[in-house]
């Protein structure tokens, strides 16, 4: 990507300014803070499109390949757009032995999407995630920051309906 022309026209200027300010505030070797910068960028933009990755690369004087290599290595970073609600179904052992696979199946069925893809209405992205450490509540799923414990496949219907309805009300 080094020789590619950086096109930032699709990126929000205000958010870019905030990202710049964050990068400028970092002390010491800025390249060492790459992962920290990517976290901040994802917080701001919700995902990391390629031109944003290239923007960060130029800013930190790194190659685009190096930045893309890091983004794709870590599962926390999204290269594709994500829905308003990110549903994470825990696939840790404790949840697995308590039937998390059936919960995930039901979530995918109800949102009409596949793993790591955004649903067509832009509302949901469904992920299967590593153990979130709430094993006492297995099986566990989270919707953004809200944790749902001891979830049965039939509970999923209510949860999804809840988020659909608040969406409807806010419109």
């Amino acid at each position: 990507m080094r020789n590619r022309i950086l096109d930032t026209s699709t990126l929000d200027k205000e958010l870019l300014k905030q990202l710049d300010a964050f990068i400028d505030s970092l002390e010491g070797d800025k390249q060492e803070h790459l992962i920290h910068v990517l976290h901040k960028a994802q917080d701001l933009f919700s995902y990391l499109p390629q031109n944003l990755q290239l923007y960060i690369a130029r800013k930190l004087d790194l190659s685009g390949a190096r930045v893309n290599g890091v983004v794709t290595f870590y599962s926390y970073f999204n290269e594709k757009p994500v829905g308003k609600y990110i549903i994470s179904v825990c696939m840790g052992t404790a949840c697995f032995v308590k039937g998390a696979d059936k919960v995930l199946e039901r979530v995918l069925e109800l949102t009409g999407t596949s793993k790591n893809e955004m649903s067509s209405d832009g509302l949901f992205t469904v992920k299967d995630v590593r153990c979130i450490g709430a094993c006492g509540l297995a099986p566990v799923m989270t919707v953004n920051d809200k944790v749902y414990g001891k979830v049965k496949p039939k509970d999923v219907d209510d949860i999804i309906r809840h988020y659909r309805s608040i969406q409807y009300e806010s419109k």
Partner: protein
């Protein structure tokens, strides 16, 4: 308050609010697990009630870290009465306030009921769950408000650091920790004092202390609970370690998924800095130390110390070969000691109570206590801390309360994707690092997943392999390709496409991966398969020889003919008359399990 010397700390401790200053302390668990069931709301309502009733001078509401009794959350504990309420709901608060806090009458319906006992235990210390525990690493979890530095100081917080800086040379600190016998709680079990000594011996002025909080083992959450419940103890220990090895900079590498823990750490660092406990010339000595947080980004391999260091430097978290060990060449190429959260949490207690005290606990080669996370098919899910040498039986049955429905426990998976299974024949073994290795498992971080007869061991092994092959960083071939091939063999077996010779291939491949992988991830990845093959070969053979039943069936002796299963079956393959035993057409059954879930008398037999 600003602490410029030892005396300042002592004076501060005298004026910190104590539990004894209040008539009643209401401890509300605010660990991740209880927070998910709205325990924050419970604390808010309690605080409001106290204000309304003008009781806030007598009664203090404390938002604490984890009590460990996660399966029964949200938990509220009333002190000094030593009463624990479980599964407390918003609507129960009024009764707790009116009955217990005002009239001092215990609300017995909210007490925990022990299995197979009709009477409830009123005193928390009398509960089986707590009776056999010994809390050192978790000493403050569930006792103090983790966001209040004064709560930590009143419990002798930062006194170990003060003692070290006043009384000991770095070599003496190392000697104490070495003699205590403390070993790394993150998995390997390397002597902590020795690790510090090795790092100290390497010449150079720039050295680093790293706290490994990248707790990735599925089923383990002790590090998260310590950071959420007692973050200052980890900071204090990192500084003691920094003094011992000659470092002035500490870094905490924490999973990005641990939001609550990260926020509490930031808060703790900020408070300690403001108090002068982190920073320049701590306690007026020439020792200076700074602590920063580095966020992970979701890669299991980063729990391996060389990969963790790469990740902290802003690279893909790929491990390096050892030697050189991080103690020689670590972060930024400088000598670095990487220790785990639970290991650190033990250090202040060792300094204050002495190495003899610590080494008197545990077995010959494994000293102190270990925190285990109990999950899976067990009644009391949660965190328990027991002396090394406690048996599996004591942990599962006495503390854990056994199977929730009283079924037989078939096996325990310990040590996560690096560990193995223990069968019931070994339940009386005393747990320590050596005994576990002898059984083909390992301590790992201490996650215990309890399994019953419904859990298919081949599928469990496949689950772990899917995890490790997905998390393999791809740097070395045996791990990258080997685990993938093992996974494919397992997938074929489970899908009834396997052959008997697959079993040999699986074992040989597993042993080769163990012997030739670059880092701990690959070297231990085959363990879940090899150990289940050792103890549950018949389950593998059932798949390999295709004698495994794949459909559900009904026990005619138990069936009461209620027709629930037939009505729930999505492919209508269950037939039978009302009040007569039903049967499943096994040629049509899709093994969805709907009948199993529906049956009120457990007459459905799982495949």
């Amino acid at each position: 308050m600003r602490v410029n010397n030892y005396n300042d700390l002592k004076e501060w401790k005298k004026v910190c609010p104590r539990k004894a200053d209040y008539k009643i302390n209401v401890l509300v668990c605010n660990g991740t697990s209880c927070l998910s069931s709205d325990s924050e709301m419970l604390a808010k309502i309690l605080e409001k009630e106290m204000l309304n009733r003008d009781l806030n001078g007598e009664i203090r509401i404390v938002k604490t870290g984890c009590f460990g009794f996660c399966g029964q959350g949200p938990i509220i504990k009333i002190e000094p009465d030593d009463v624990t309420y479980v599964q407390v709901k918003v609507e129960d608060i009024a009764e707790i306030v009116e009955s217990h806090l005002v009239n001092r009458i215990v609300v017995s319906r909210l007490l925990y009921k022990e299995p197979n006992q009709t009477n409830v235990v009123e005193q928390s210390s009398g509960m089986n769950f707590y009776k056999k525990q010994m809390r050192i690493a978790l000493r403050n979890c569930g006792e103090i408000d983790p966001e209040n530095i004064e709560d930590y100081i009143v419990n002798n917080g930062y006194f170990a650091l003060a003692k070290v800086l006043q009384e000991y040379t770095p070599d003496e600190v190392i000697k104490i920790v070495k003699e205590s016998g403390l070993r790394g709680r993150g998995g390997g079990g390397f002597n902590t004092g020795l690790k510090w000594e090795l790092t100290r011996k390497v010449p150079g002025r720039e050295k680093y202390i790293v706290c490994n909080a990248d707790e990735g083992d599925p089923g383990a959450f002790m590090d998260r609970s310590i950071l959420e419940g007692d973050p200052h103890s980890v900071l204090e220990a990192m500084m003691i370690a920094g003094y011992a090895i000659g470092a002035s900079q500490g870094l905490i590498y924490i999973r990005a998924e641990y939001g609550v823990a990260t926020n509490r750490l930031y808060r703790a660092i900020k408070d300690a800095k403001e108090a002068g406990l982190i920073g320049k010339n701590i306690f007026g000595t020439d020792f200076s130390f700074d602590i920063n947080i580095k966020l992970g980004a979701g890669a299991f391999v980063c729990g391996e110390e060389t990969a963790l260091i790469r990740s902290m430097e802003g690279f893909r978290g790929e491990p390096n070969k050892k030697p050189p060990f991080p103690s020689v060449q670590g972060f930024r190429g400088k000598p670095t000691s990487v220790n785990n959260v639970e290991t650190f949490a033990n250090v202040p207690a060792i300094i204050l109570n002495g190495s003899k005290w610590f080494s008197s606990i545990g077995t010959e080669k494994s000293k102190g206590t270990k925190v285990f996370a109990l999950a899976g098919q067990i009644r009391n899910n949660g965190l328990v801390e027991v002396p090394m040498g406690t048996t599996f039986r004591e942990i599962i049955y006495d503390i854990g309360g056994g199977h929730p429905q009283g079924k037989e426990i078939k096996a325990i998976q310990i040590g996560g994707p690096s560990g193995g299974v223990i069968t019931k024949d070994f339940f009386d073994t005393k747990i320590d690092y050596e005994s576990l290795l002898g059984m083909g498992a390992m301590m790992g971080s201490g996650g215990m997943i309890i399994m019953d007869e419904d859990n298919d061991m081949v599928k469990i092994a496949k689950f772990y392999l899917e995890f490790t092959q997905d998390e393999s960083c791809g740097k070395c071939t045996p791990c990258r390709i080997g685990t993938k091939r093992m996974y494919e063999i397992l997938e074929n077996l489970v899908n009834m496409k396997g052959k008997p010779e697959d079993l040999d291939r699986l074992r040989i491949l597993g042993e080769n991966i163990k012997n030739t992988s670059l880092c701990g991830l690959g070297q231990t990845a085959p363990n879940p398969v090899l150990s289940t093959m050792k103890y549950f070969m018949e389950e593998y053979e059932a798949y390999a020889y295709r004698t495994k039943r794949t459909t559900y069936s009904i026990d005619p002796k138990l069936c009461i003919g209620c027709t629930k299963c037939a009505r729930n079956c999505p492919v209508s393959c269950i037939e039978g008359k009302v009040k007569e035993p039903h049967y499943i057409d096994e040629t049509k059954c899709i093994a969805c399990g709907a009948c199993y879930e529906a049956c009120p008398v457990h007459a459905i037999i799982k495949p």
